[in-house]
Symmetry: C2
Subunit: 249 residues, 2 copies
Amino acid sequence: TIYVVTPTYARLVQKAELVRLSQTLSLVPRLHWLLVEDAEGPTPLVSGLLAASGLLFTHLAVLTPKAQRLREGEPGWVRPRGVEQRNKALEWLRGGGGAIGGEKDPPPPGTRGVVYFADDDNTYSRELFEEVSTGVGMGKEAKWGQFHQLPWLPVLLVAAVKGSWEPGRESSLLPLCLPKSRNPCGTKRVRDPRALASCSSHSAANTVGRGHGECSMVLVWHTRTEKPKMKQEEQLQRQGRGSDPAIEV
Amino acid sequence: TIYVVTPTYARLVQKAELVRLSQTLSLVPRLHWLLVEDAEGPTPLVSGLLAASGLLFTHLAVLTPKAQRLREGEPGWVRPRGVEQRNKALEWLRGGGGAIGGEKDPPPPGTRGVVYFADDDNTYSRELFEEVSTGVGMGKEAKWGQFHQLPWLPVLLVAAVKGSWEPGRESSLLPLCLPKSRNPCGTKRVRDPRALASCSSHSAANTVGRGHGECSMVLVWHTRTEKPKMKQEEQLQRQGRGSDPAIEV
Ligand SMILES: O=c1ccn([C@@H]2O[C@H](COP(=O)(O)OP(=O)(O)O)[C@@H](O)[C@H]2O)c(=O)[nH]1
Ligand SMILES: O=c1ccn([C@@H]2O[C@H](COP(=O)(O)OP(=O)(O)O)[C@@H](O)[C@H]2O)c(=O)[nH]1
Ligand SMILES: [Mn+2]
Ligand SMILES: [Mn+2]
C-alpha cells in the first residue's frame, strides 16, 4: 500500500486543487489517501469530494493552533504549513484512529506500506507512484526523529507498517528520498529546486540502495496556484449581484 | 469522439501543467487531444510527453506573430492568447492536415465529435467530459463565425464533424455552452467567474435544450499557476553551481 498524506485548508482554490490531485491519485493502484483538513472538523466540501472520488481514503482533521498560523503579509517560509496535519496522519498510521470524517476500506493493522507526503497543490507524475511503490518493504532502518523535527517536507517518503509503531518500533520508518535542496540523501540539483521541481531519482530503489540518489528525472513539481483576484466579485456582492452561494466552488 | 484543443507555450511550468492535464485526459474514454504548440515547430519536451502519455493525439504547432504577443508587464487581458493555436486545430479538424509533430490514431474523416477548448493551465473535473460527451450529435444549428471572432474562450464547446467543414457546412458547429460571464447561453454566475471557475451546467444536454443553462455545478476552474521565482537559481548559475541542464523540468 502507498499511504499518501495530504494536508489541506480552506481557500478559494481548494476544491480545484483537490479535484486535480484526487484524479491523479485515481490512476495509482493500491493507494490509500490520508486527507487531513486544517480545520476543527471535517467540512462538507472535502467529505463530498472524497465520497465522489472513488478513492480509498481516511478523512482526518486537526486545526493548526493560532500561534503557528501564517499572518497576513508574512512570507510563506517563516512558518511551517501542514505539520500538525502530517503528524495527525502519522498518529493514525501508528494505530491511533481518529478518522473523524470517515474512511473507505482502510488497510488492516499490520499492512506494510510506504508513506508519501504529498501537498495538495503540487504536481505529481503518475510515474512517481510507480517509483514510490518500489520502496515498499525495504529493510533499511532509520531514526524517525530526524525527519519528524523538520518543519515541512512535501516530498518525504518513508516505509511504514501500519498500526505497529509502538515507541520501540519507531525506527521501522525508512527515509527513501528527501529530494529538496537540504536533502540528506543527496541528489543532483535541478532548476529552481525550491519553487518548481522535486528531483526524484528514476528509481527510488536505486536511490535507497546507494544512499545517494542520482537524480535522473523530475516527477514532482512544486507548483503553486495563484490566488484569484476577488475585487470584481466583491463589488458585485455589494450591489447584491454576487455569485450564487449555493454553488460549491 | 471528444476533440480536446489545447494551446501551449514554453515556460518553466509548462511540463508540470501538461503532465497534470494529460493525466486528467487519460481518465476520459474516446478522447483525441489536439495539442498545439505556440512555437515554430514541435519541441522535444512536448513530443516526449505526448509519446509517454498513452493518449491519442495530434501534435500541431504555430507561432503567434510577434505583433500579437503579450509584452513584458502588460496585463494578460489586453491580448488574446492561444488564438492562432486554436485556429490551427480547427484547420486540422476541417481536414487541413498539418500534424507536424506526429499523431496517434487520428479519427478517420467524417468522425462525429465534440470540440472542447481546454487551456493547459485550467483544472478540469473528469465529470466535465462526461457532460461534454453528451453533446455529441445534437442537431441544433449555429453560426460558427459568431464564436470564431471571440479572442479567447477557454470553455467553448462545439459539436463537429471531422474533415467535412466545407464553407457551406460551417453551420454544423454547435455551441453547447459558453460558461463565462459574457456567456451568450446565460448561466448563473458563480464566485469569481473570471479568475476561478467556469460554471458548467450539470447536464450540457439540458443547457442546450433550453437555450439557457441553469448552472448547478462547477466542473472547470480557471486556475493559474504562479511563475516560479528564479533569483536564487540565477545566483547559483552565476557561481557555476546552477541546476543540471540535462534534466528536463
Ligand atoms: O494554513 C495552512 C497552510 C497550508 N496547509 C497545507 O500545507 C501544505 C503546504 O502548504 P503550501 O502549499 O501553502 O506551502 P508551500 O510548501 O507551497 O510553500 C499544503 O498541502 C497545504 O494545503 C495547511 O494545511 N494549512
Ligand atoms: O503566448 C502564449 C500565451 C498563452 N498561450 C496558451 O493560451 C492559453 C491561454 O493562456 P493563459 O492561460 O495564459 O490565459 P488566461 O486565460 O489564463 O489569462 C493557454 O493554453 C496557454 O498555454 C499560448 O499558446 N501562447
Ligand atoms: Mn505548496
Ligand atoms: Mn489560463
